[in-house]
């Protein structure tokens, strides 16, 4: 199978997983889907590392799979287990409506990607298109989900999208920067995990819309 096919398959798989995340209501499945999405990103990075002989991308791939594919999903599931919350996502917008919005966002993302000089055709068109769509879907998820955990997942989806462009289309970031981003992500998740604990302790719920009651 040519490299470009693997890249497109992985990118399309990421888009499908993002889409399923929008349609899912079970919290655990959403987390697993995010894990799959990150694993696909790792495979994509590894494929580029092989085809363009950029060995430093192997580190990126390994870090992505280990950190975002396994560690963060495990950590999030543990947090949910510990605080014992209701395991369903309660979005502000119902599922069919969210799906419709995301459909529009994907079309917009794909359309915009043709405006980039690299994005007019070929593999990079699809990579940029998928990344932009995922970015928009991530932002949409962040706005419409009530639970703090799902907002973390949305943030991580956005992060994956940015990473997809960085790895797939540009000639790559220095390794130091990539490692720095990875540690940023893990720190962000840890801090948000603690934050979720605090929110649940105070309000006995993860619903962030209740934070507005804190106003004096």
């Amino acid at each position: 199978m040519p490299t470009s096919d693997v890249l497109i398959l992985c990118a399309a798989g990421m888009l499908v997983s993002a889409y399923l995340m929008v349609g899912q209501k079970a919290l655990f499945t959403t987390i697993r889907l995010f894990g799959v999405q990150s694993a696909l990103l790792g495979i994509l990075a590894a494929t580029i590392a092989v085809s363009e002989s950029r060995p430093e991308l192997f580190v990126t791939a390994a870090v992505t799979i280990a950190l975002k594919g396994i560690l963060i999903p495990w950590f999030l599931m543990r947090v949910i287990d510990r605080i014992g919350i209701h395991r369903e996502i309660e979005p502000f917008l119902n599922v069919p409506a969210s799906l419709l919005v995301c459909l529009g966002l994907t079309v917009v993302g794909y359309r915009v990607s043709t405006g980039f000089p690299e994005g007019s055709r070929g593999v990079s068109h699809h990579l940029i298109g998928v990344a932009l769509s995922m970015l928009l879907i991530g932002l949409f998820l962040m706005v419409t989900r009530k639970k703090a955990i799902t907002q973390i997942l949305a943030l991580l989806t956005v992060e994956n999208a940015v990473f997809l462009v960085a790895v797939g289309v540009t000639s790559g970031m220095p390794l130091v920067v990539e490692l720095g981003i990875s540690f940023d992500v893990i720190l962000a998740v840890l801090i948000l995990g603690v934050l979720v604990h605090r929110i649940v302790e105070r309000f006995e719920s993860m619903d962030v819309s209740r934070l507005s009651k804190l106003k004096g």
């Binding site: 470009s4 096919d5 497109i8 398959l9 990118a11 399309a12 798989g13 888009l15 499908v16 889409y19 399923l20 349609g23 209501k25 599922v95 069919p96 799906l99 419709l100 995301c102 459909l103 994907t106 079309v107 794909y110 359309r111 043709t114 699809h126 298109g129 998928v130």
Partner: protein, 313 residues
């Protein structure tokens, strides 16, 4: 001669599909049982069940009209007719001159309509409930199925399944992102249409949430055998359709014995892989609440629509 070859091919292919379909059902049952640390039914169970049902005398309600009798027969005939429109071992469907995707979807819809009408005929609450539920899901699943099929048709430039598959074999898979989106969408449709677990539970007659089983609850004996057999054929047909559209590698392009053998082996192998995927989905998911099912099907509708939209971008 010109007409004889397709007809012979159609008869052979539909007979083969009829013969293999119960085996597929048992295979999935057996794999599911294995995953739950059970033994599962013996391999011949599918055939034994059909033989048992066919040997019984038909029991029909006194209030039933001819619609009730015709339902299973039309359903069975529609499933059988649909098998002649799909390429299985060869990169050509026996009766592909008759029509393509639209005829296939239409034929399957005709079967569903006949069964739903027949379920309403006796006036039993279960039949009516099952029929209304089946139609609710079908109303969403059918457009998704059409959109998913159109995505592949758009790439090949033809609505005819034979031409479509030959195009994919010739140019190789396109590896456009829309393929994966359409596949994901169609896989959900296959789960929904064949009454597998997140949508319907094929293993029970007791739940109030059942769909297909509620619809055919009134049937017994040979009538029930026809319905069950046709459902099995439909399941095999859907899996074959997925195989044709998205992984046509190995399909026979000539009647040479070697090519045919490879074609048969490839088809069995690929359908088995999909059966494993269906089994895993059934085992790892819980049955959805009925009101959630339209949400699941609308996901597949969205995916299929997206696949089609991305083709143009």
């Amino acid at each position: 001669m010109d007409l004889a070859l397709p007809v012979i091919g159609a008869v052979l292919q539909s007979a083969a599909m009829l013969a293999i379909a119960p085996l597929l059902k048992v295979t999935i049952k057996k794999m599911k049982a294995r995953l739950q640390n059970r033994q599962g039914p013996p391999w011949r169970q599918g055939y034994s069940d059909l033989a048992k049902l066919l040997g019984k005398e038909p029991v029909r309600s006194e209030t039933a009209s001819w619609i009730y009798v015709a339902g299973p027969r039309v359903y069975f005939a529609a499933a059988l007719a649909a098998t002649t429109l799909v390429p299985v071992v060869f990169a050509a469907a026996p009766l592909e001159a008759a029509g393509g995707i639209l005829l296939l979807v239409g034929t399957l819809a005709l079967g569903r309509f006949a069964l739903a009408t027949a379920a309403l005929d006796t006036g039993s609450p279960f039949g009516g409930m099952g029929a209304s539920r089946d139609m609710t899901i079908a109303a969403l699943a059918e457009p998704a199925l059409m959109l998913g099929l159109f995505t592949s048709a758009l790439a090949a430039g033809s609505l005819n399944l034979g031409v479509l598959v030959r195009g994919v074999v010739q140019h190789g898979p396109s590896f456009h992102p829309s393929d994966l989106l359409a596949f994901a969408g169609l896989f959900i449709i296959v789960i929904a249409e064949t009454g597998r677990i997140p949508v319907d539970n094929p293993a029970t007659h007791l739940e109030l949430t059942m769909i297909h089983e509620a619809m055919v609850l009134e049937y017994a004996g040979p009538d029930l055998a026809l319905v069950e057999w046709a459902s099995a054929v439909k399941e095999l047909l859907y899996l074959t359709l997925l195989v044709d559209l998205f992984m046509p590698a190995g399909i026979a392009r000539s009647a040479a014995p070697a090519a045919v053998l490879v074609g048969i082996a490839a088809w069995i192998g690929k359908v088995f892989v999909l059966a494993v995927a269906v089994t895993l989905t059934e085992t790892t998911n819980a049955k959805l609440r009925l009101f959630r099912v339209p949400e699941l099907v609308s996901i597949s509708l969205g995916l299929a629509f997206l696949a089609l939209a991305i083709r143009f971008l």
